[in-house]
């Protein structure tokens, strides 16, 4: 036990293992725990649940069509007599994975574009912003449906197409904030010190935009998950086997009333996914920038 000479009584190791303030703020945030546990449970449900019985979702039986919840089928059966719970577990895997992959890809494109446009200014900025305006002025689902119909729907092409249509919203936010940060005195100081533009962008501009990047990315995640769900529901999104959107679409036409177990779970699953990611995003944002903490929510 060595104590520091200037601060008697405080254990040195004790000080050393304390987490940085941002991490402590994050771990104290209730939304971090609520959102984190929701997402963890959802991931366990989707990826660990099916391990116990791999074929459960595929096994169909015409004798048990649209049966209500029972001990054998806790969430009932769908129109083909397949177990709704098992389908719900496996059906979450691709929307979740494709959602994260697409959101990350779109965020990288959007953040890079917004940073470069806002920092460089001039003609480059106007051209990039004209392009984002064009993307933002037509409904995103239209080009996705058109391209997916032409290429034939596949998970890979859907991820690429959705990412390529989703990034402009993020680019606009990041560009607007970059314009503000660029005018700060410390950027001038960095230029005076002879830092390169790339270094200024990465070391001085980017760290000041982290909270906006988190907000833009969570919004992108919600956007891409819902847009993918819409296109999949229509039949031109994620290809078979089933997922949350397509299992809902498959049952829809055969419901005559009362079969709530095939109606409610898939949509609520999307909501749980998006709410948990939003809560996590809000916790991270508020840990990065505690001044503008959003109330309620």
């Amino acid at each position: 036990m060595t104590t520091h000479p200037l601060t008697p009584g405080i254990d040195r190791q004790d000080v050393a293992i304390r987490l940085p303030r941002k991490w402590r703020r994050l771990f104290r945030h209730p939304l971090f725990w609520i959102g984190g546990s929701m997402l963890a449970l959802l991931l366990l449900f989707s990826f660990l649940g099916p391990v116990f019985d791999k074929a459960a979702g595929e096994h169909y039986d015409m004798a048990t069509q649209l049966f209500g919840p029972s001990f054998a089928h806790p969430l009932g059966t769908n129109v083909l007599g397949q177990d709704e719970l098992a389908q719900l577990m496996v059906g979450g895997q691709r929307p979740i994975l494709a959602g994260f992959a697409t959101a990350i890809a779109a965020a990288i494109i959007g953040i890079a574009t917004g940073l470069v446009a806002g920092y460089s200014g001039s003609v480059f900025d106007s051209v990039l912003m004209r392009i984002t305006d064009m993307f933002l002025s037509i409904p995103q689902v239209v080009p996705i449906l058109l391209i997916e119909s032409l290429l034939g729907a596949s998970t890979k092409s859907l991820i690429i197409v959705v990412a390529l249509t989703a990034w402009p919203a993020a680019a606009r936010i990041i560009r607007a904030r970059t314009l503000i940060v660029r005018r700060q005195p410390f950027i001038e100081a960095a230029i005076a010190c002879g830092d390169s533009h790339a270094r200024i962008l990465v070391h001085h501009v980017l760290p000041n935009l982290l909270d906006d990047i988190v907000v833009a990315s969570t919004n992108l995640f919600a956007n891409v998950v819902l847009v993918m769900a819409i296109t999949t529901f229509i039949g031109l999104g994620l290809p078979p086997p089933w997922n949350w959107a397509s299992m809902f679409a498959g049952n829809m036409d055969n419901i005559v009333g009362g079969q709530w177990w095939v109606v409610y779970p898939p949509g609520l699953a999307f909501s749980v996914l998006l709410v948990s990611v939003y809560f996590l995003g809000e916790a991270v944002r508020s840990a990065l920038n505690p001044q503008e903490s959003m109330e309620a929510q």
Partner: protein
């Protein structure tokens, strides 16, 4: 002002041109022969070539593009436009309902921040925002159309039983409510900011100090000033609203632009699909243009150049 209008109109026309070129190029990039599909699987190569020639598919691409524009101008666009009224009605009524609800929710929230209503309203509108629109639409059909039997399960369509204004109103309720639900959270957030700002401003204090009744303060001063940014928000959210219009028309079996596009794409009828894409692009681009121009007219504080 005139220069601003000219610039915005020019931008809109240019955007529409880029959209049409993009749609056309996409169509030409597709990995199969349109003429062969039109001719059917058992057609002879001669017939396919004949059809290709009739459609102008043997011409160079720029000529084909001009041929397509000509076809649009001489009736193609008008045919596609037939599908516009149901979409526009849904879009307009849905946004109006969303704006009305969002304004009052945001107003009560701004007046009584940090109360139970404030927090509950934020949470509920947020959860509604995270639900897929097709799911919300189908749950409404399921509950009100199939279980309670209060409202029809399909939207207005060409069915003979579906004619007449009273039928139209009743059948429009569920699609409109579905569209409103998907957008209410976003608009409440925007309205809340605008109302917060208006409530804190000097002219509201003046209005109250000179003894105006509270409802007059709200309608004349708060509402008018909060509606200004709402015009911009409405213009900006038009394309994302249309994402939901497409799928809502599809679920409620309405004959609108969105469901027509889906039918055309599922049937690989790309000739009709690109026309519809262009009309949809024209609708949202013109919507944003109108919103921008309205904003310039409505807010005399801003001088556009």
């Amino acid at each position: 002002m005139a220069r601003y209008v000219a610039r915005r109109v020019g931008e809109a026309v240019f955007t529409l041109f880029v959209v049409s070129v993009a749609a056309f190029v996409l169509l030409k990039l597709m990995p199969f022969n349109l003429a062969a599909i039109m001719a059917g699987p058992r057609a002879s190569p001669g017939t396919v070539a004949q059809i290709a020639q009739g459609m102008g598919l043997d011409q160079p691409l720029p000529i084909q593009f001009l041929l397509w524009l000509h076809q649009l101008a001489s009736g193609g666009a008008a045919l596609a436009w037939q599908y516009a009224p149901p979409s526009l009605e849904l879009l307009f009524l849905g946004s109006a309902l969303a704006a009305f609800c969002a304004f009052w929710i945001a107003y009560v929230q701004a007046k009584r921040p940090r109360t139970l209503f404030d927090r509950a309203a934020s949470l509920i509108t947020f959860i509604l925002f995270t639900l897929p629109s097709f799911w919300v639409g189908f749950v409404l059909i399921f509950v009100f159309g199939l279980q309670l039997l209060w409202l029809p399960a399909v939207g207005p369509n060409l069915d003979p039983s579906s004619q007449g204004f009273s039928n139209w109103i009743v059948e429009m309720i569920l699609p409109v409510v579905t569209l409103a639900i998907t957008t209410i959270a976003t608009w409440t957030t925007y309205f809340r900011g605008a109302i917060d700002e208006a409530l804190r401003s000097d002219y509201i204090r003046t209005a109250r100090a000179k003894g105006l009744p509270e409802d007059r303060v709200i309608v004349v001063h708060v509402l008018r000033n909060a509606l200004l940014p709402a015009i911009t928000i409405a213009g900006l959210s038009l394309p994302s609203l249309f994402n939901n219009v497409i799928v809502i028309e599809w679920i409620f079996a309405m004959q609108g632009l969105g469901s027509a596009l889906v039918y055309a794409l599922v049937a690989f009828n790309y000739g009709v699909a690109v026309d519809l894409v262009l009309v949809i692009g024209a609708v949202t681009i013109c919507g944003s243009l109108v919103a921008d121009l309205l904003y310039a007219v409505a807010d005399p504080r801003i001088k556009f150049v």
